[in-house]
């Protein structure tokens, strides 16, 4: 049995990778992928912490998060396509019609 702290450390690492990815990458699709990594870091934490507490609640939450992430992907990719049709780019630095 692996100690729960290892799972938490891994999930914190994944979360950190996601945050850094959002902050340093300029391609909107890669930014979105980084956000998905953050959500999955939370999923890992939920599962690990739920198992440690001996409750299925933690695992049950993951289903909600997965559903939300799927819906978010649908809306997000639709928005990305709308932007690409208008501008032919999804680079965050080139989307300057509205000032950041």
């Amino acid at each position: 049995m692996v100690a729960p702290s290892y799972y938490l450390a891994l999930s914190a690492l994944l979360f950190g990778i996601g945050v850094v990815g959002v902050l340093v990458r300029r391609n909107a699709i890669v930014i979105f992928m980084s956000i998905e990594v953050m959500l999955n870091a939370a999923n890992l934490a939920f599962v690990a912490l739920g198992a440690e507490a001996g409750s299925v609640e933690g695992q049950a939450f993951v289903f909600f998060v997965l559903t939300v992430a799927a819906a978010e992907a649908a809306v997000g990719l639709a928005i990305l396509i709308a932007v690409f049709r208008n501008r032919e780019t999804v680079n965050a630095d080139e989307l300057t019609l509205l000032r950041w």
Binding site: L8, S11, F15, G18, V19, V22, A28, I31, F32, I35, M38, L39, A41, A42, A45, F46, L49, G50, E52, A53, G54, S55, V56, E57, G58, A60, F61, F64, V65, V68, A71, E72, V75, G76, A78, I79, L80, A82, V83, R85, N86, R87, V90, A92, L95, L97, L98, R99, W100
Partner: protein, 499 residues
């Protein structure tokens, strides 16, 4: 719930009847919209407004029957009633403002109104949720609908770009919120707010984990209420989004976010208050100051209103930092006045816009006082309320908020807030100077030709005046809402935060 077993949940459909009505109406509008032509768009809009009004009836009927439903995850109390009513009103106003706009801009009516209804559903869920996962689900239901609405004019590059920025930063903040929720779950072993409160009162041996979780959830909420330094999406999203949706974002999203924010932090994380109020103090000061100072430089009316919305989030955060019962009541009252005033201001901007003639800049408003005296008078009154002129709603709201903060000993924060109010007068009055004292500008369509918009502006003006001149009943309602939420969560003494 016993460990390892999912206990049978107590279903109480009456508790979620208003949500059900809104959800069913949203699906009906979506399906009808697939078959309806552009000319039936207004009928769909009126149906949506009627459904929102119908949902208010069961909300009102649940007054005085406070309880926790669905195994302690949904709170039916005067607090949720208060917020649900204001959210329903704000959503219905958004629909009224949109009626002609949707037709003129050639937007797909069925999807548009269905998304407004879905967003309203998420907002109401946030106001009623007594469980962190349910708050997360409500937040996402609202956010996903609003992301899509922000980019609804998808053939306009600006609308699509606004949606992309709003979506990316919104989803980013969701990541923080969710990870924070996961850590809180690890530290306290529950996500239901009642047991969480009890667990915190009993003390936890995972204090670091808990504080990290609370901090991340705080970041998530700070994004949603557009607090500095997490405000960058606000001006872009408001400027690029269809104007009625910008108003909806400024009012509805903020109402729902503050409802959940106050319930989680004020009512249930009170045991940790000394840690998070210090952070909120700094965020409030930054938010007010940055919002007001950047608003000074804006040439676009919508962008100016966006920074003004940031500044108002700062004033509300002053109340959060104060953290007393009195301050929480003031937040509730302030949000009510803010809803009327800001929806009205955006309705006026919608009234000025037409296809091809967007009233983008403040310079376009020059001489409006002579061309559209009624509309100008309404705009003047609403902007004066946002400035905080007595006797309007904005003034009384600020008075209560700042007084509560003073009573909690936040003298310096109140000094900063008052100075900010003075600064804000400059950019609100600059608009009025353009309207009444300068010549030029662009012609507008008469408001009388657009009855729904006329009703919306009239309701906003009436509300702004009434809430300001006769504050007593609204203050009483806010106080009752708060007491109801407190008594539901702790049958003991009514104290928000033990200072």
């Amino acid at each position: 719930m016993s460990p390892g077993v999912l206990a049978a949940v107590q279903f109480s459909w009456l508790a979620v009847l208003p949500l059900g009505i809104v959800a069913l109406a949203a699906v009906a509008v979506l399906l009808a919209g697939a078959r309806a032509g552009q000319d039936q768009g207004e009928a769909l809009g009126w149906f949506s407004a009627a459904a929102l009004a119908a949902a208010a009836l069961p909300v009102l009927a649940s007054l005085g029957r406070s309880r926790l439903a669905f195994d302690g995850t949904v709170a039916v109390d005067a607090y949720s009633v208060y917020f649900e009513l204001v959210i329903l009103f704000a959503s219905a106003m958004t629909v009224l403002i949109s009626l002609r706009y949707v037709a003129e801009m050639g937007l797909a009516p069925g999807e548009y109104y269905a998304l407004v209804l879905f967003a309203a559903l998420g907002m109401m869920l946030m106001a009623a949720a007594d469980d962190l996962i349910l708050i997360f689900l409500g937040l996402e239901t609202m956010s996903l609908a609003v992301y899509a609405l922000a980019g609804f004019a998808r053939r306009q590059a600006r609308s699509a770009e606004a949606a992309l920025k709003y979506f990316l930063l919104g989803a980013f903040s969701t990541g923080f919120l969710l990870y924070g929720i996961a850590l809180i779950y690890g530290a306290a072993g529950t996500l239901k707010l009642e047991p969480l409160r009890a667990a915190l009162a009993a003390g936890t041996d995972h204090r670091t984990l808990l504080l990290c979780g609370v901090g991340l959830v705080l970041i998530g909420f700070a994004f949603k209420v557009a607090a500095v330094p997490f405000h960058m999406w606000t001006p872009d999203a408001y400027e690029g989004a269809p104007t009625p949706i910008a108003g909806f974002m400024a009012v509805g999203v903020k109402l729902a976010s503050f409802a959940a924010f106050l319930r989680v932090f004020g009512l249930h994380l009170g045991a940790l208050a000394p840690t998070w109020t210090a952070v909120v103090w700094v965020v409030a000061a930054l938010t007010m100051t940055a919002g007001n100072l950047i608003a000074l430089a804006q040439q676009s009316l919508k962008r100016m209103l966006a920074y003004s919305a940031i500044a108002h989030a700062g004033y509300l955060l002053v109340g959060m930092a104060a953290g007393s019962n009195e301050a929480a009541g003031a937040i509730l009252y302030y949000l009510l006045g803010y809803a009327f005033t800001n929806l009205g201001a955006f309705a006026v901007v919608v009234a000025l816009e037409r296809r091809g003639v967007e009233h983008e800049s403040i310079a376009d408003l020059r001489g409006l006082g002579a061309r559209a005296p009624g509309l100008s008078a309404a705009l003047a009154l609403l902007l004066l309320s946002l400035t905080g002129m007595p006797p309007l709603a904005g003034f009384v709201g600020k008075l209560y908020l700042f007084k509560a903060a003073l009573d909690s000993g936040l003298v310096w924060l109140v000094v900063i807030a008052v100075l900010n109010s003075v600064v804000s007068a400059y950019y609100y009055l600059r608009v009025l100077v353009a309207v009444y004292m300068q010549e030029g500008g662009v012609a507008v369509a008469p408001l009388a030709a657009r009855p729904a918009l006329l009703v919306a502006v009239g309701a906003a003006v009436l509300g702004t005046v009434l809430i300001g001149v006769f504050p007593a009943p609204y203050v009483a309602a806010a106080g009752a809402a708060l007491r109801s939420a407190l008594s539901l969560s702790s049958p003991g003494p009514l104290a928000l935060i033990a200072r």
